[in-house]
């Protein structure tokens, strides 16, 4: 079970459709300051259902849609799709691959898809239940956040262990 593909369309700096092929093991992203590395992590968090735009370094959901550049006009919607390998049936579905997709229009309209079928955020959470991705606080160390994660209150920290139990 691993993340096989990531498709990003007009999410933050990804003005052109981007497809990333992943493999099992370790994948390292490198590149100059401001080129879009952390935006890939934001795209993953958002696709998995993140509701707080501050966790994605924005002020409003609209900040997540490509605002244009010297080469292009602002886009009307953003879309991210994650395709997982399901050969070990980590997702309780009869398919070899499972896909989750999220789309946001400038109007604020939001939609979620599972294997191409429109679904609700609740369904996505249900799907992610026993994969360790329902609550990302322990699967992702965001840039510059180690100090904050460690200074969380002892009672906040217990959630990590409960999630694992």
């Amino acid at each position: 079970m691993y993340l096989k593909k990531l498709h990003i369309k007009s999410f933050k700096g990804f003005g052109d459709k981007t497809e990333i092929q992943f493999y099992e093991g370790v994948g390292a992203f490198v590149g100059p300051n401001g080129c879009g590395k952390s935006n890939i992590i934001d795209a993953i968090k958002w696709c998995l259902g993140e509701q707080k735009v501050s966790e994605l370094r924005g002020e409003r959901m609209e900040d997540l849609i490509f605002t244009g550049s010297s080469l292009s006009q602002p886009h009307g919607f953003a879309e991210v799709e994650m395709i997982f390998d399901n050969s070990t049936k980590i997702f309780e579905l009869p398919y070899q691959e499972v896909s989750i997709k999220r789309r946001l229009y400038r109007s604020g309209e939001m939609s979620y898809f599972m294997n191409g079928l429109a679904s609700r955020l609740k369904d996505i959470h249900g799907l992610l239940e026993n994969t360790g991705l329902a609550d990302l606080s322990y699967s992702i160390i965001a840039q510059g956040k180690i100090d904050k994660m460690l200074s969380a209150d002892d009672s906040e920290r217990i959630i990590l262990f409960e999630e694992a139990a």
């Binding site: 691993y2 993340l3 933050k12 700096g13 990804f14 003005g15 052109d16 981007t18 990333i20 092929q21 992943f22 493999y23 099992e24 093991g25 370790v26 994948g27 390292a28 992203f29 490198v30 590149g31 100059p32 401001g34 080129c35 879009g36 590395k37 952390s38 890939i40 992590i41 993953i44 244009g68 550049s69 010297s70 080469l71 292009s72 997982f84 980590i90 994969t131 360790g132 991705l133 322990y138 699967s139 992702i140 160390i141 965001a142 840039q143 510059g144 180690i146 100090d147 994660m149 460690l150 200074s151 002892d154 009672s155 920290r157 217990i158 990590l160 262990f161 409960e162 694992a164 139990a165």
Partner: protein
């Protein structure tokens, strides 16, 4: 339930002690659970004692030491309950050369348990792994190239 939480906690604690012993040579670390019927009152405390030091409070540790403690906690939970992937965005930024090597060794140990995606500016880190992706920005638009490296 209480039984499940205390059992899981015990395993995570054992893992945490093991990882901190590697990251802090001759040092030690452990976790303590304060259980309560009321979920809001439950607490999990972190204790780390690097060799020769008496400091007890977490916020008196340095930037690099806090990174190591955080990594130990994350991987201790991971050993007990791996998730599909784990993501580290410049988690090595505060580390000195010696601890950078520890960081790479820790990830190599885990790569069998789950997929790891990492971002780093440290050559020593990204050159250690097999799949490298180059990201560039041209005219305000990001592009990703896969630079699959032979084993």
């Amino acid at each position: 339930s209480k039984k499940l939480l205390t059992k899981t906690f015990k395993v995570i604690n054992k893992n945490f002690a093991q990882i901190t012993a590697t990251l802090f040579p001759q040092g030690r670390g452990h976790l303590e659970l304060e259980y309560s019927r009321n979920p809001a009152e439950r607490k999990a405390k972190i204790f780390v004692q690097p060799q020769g030091k008496q400091v007890k409070k977490l916020n008196l540790f340095s930037g690099g030491e806090k990174t190591l403690i955080m990594l130990a906690l994350m991987f201790a939970i991971f050993m007990t309950r791996p998730s599909i992937f784990c993501i580290l965005d410049e988690a090595d930024a505060a580390l000195d050369d010696e601890n950078l090597s520890q960081f790479v060794k820790l990830i190599e140990k885990f790569k069998g348990k789950s997929q790891v995606l990492l971002i780093s500016h440290n050559r020593k880190t990204f050159q250690s792994f097999e799949y490298i992706y180059g990201v560039t920005m041209r005219g305000g638009i990001s592009k990703v190239f896969s630079l699959k490296v032979d084993e």
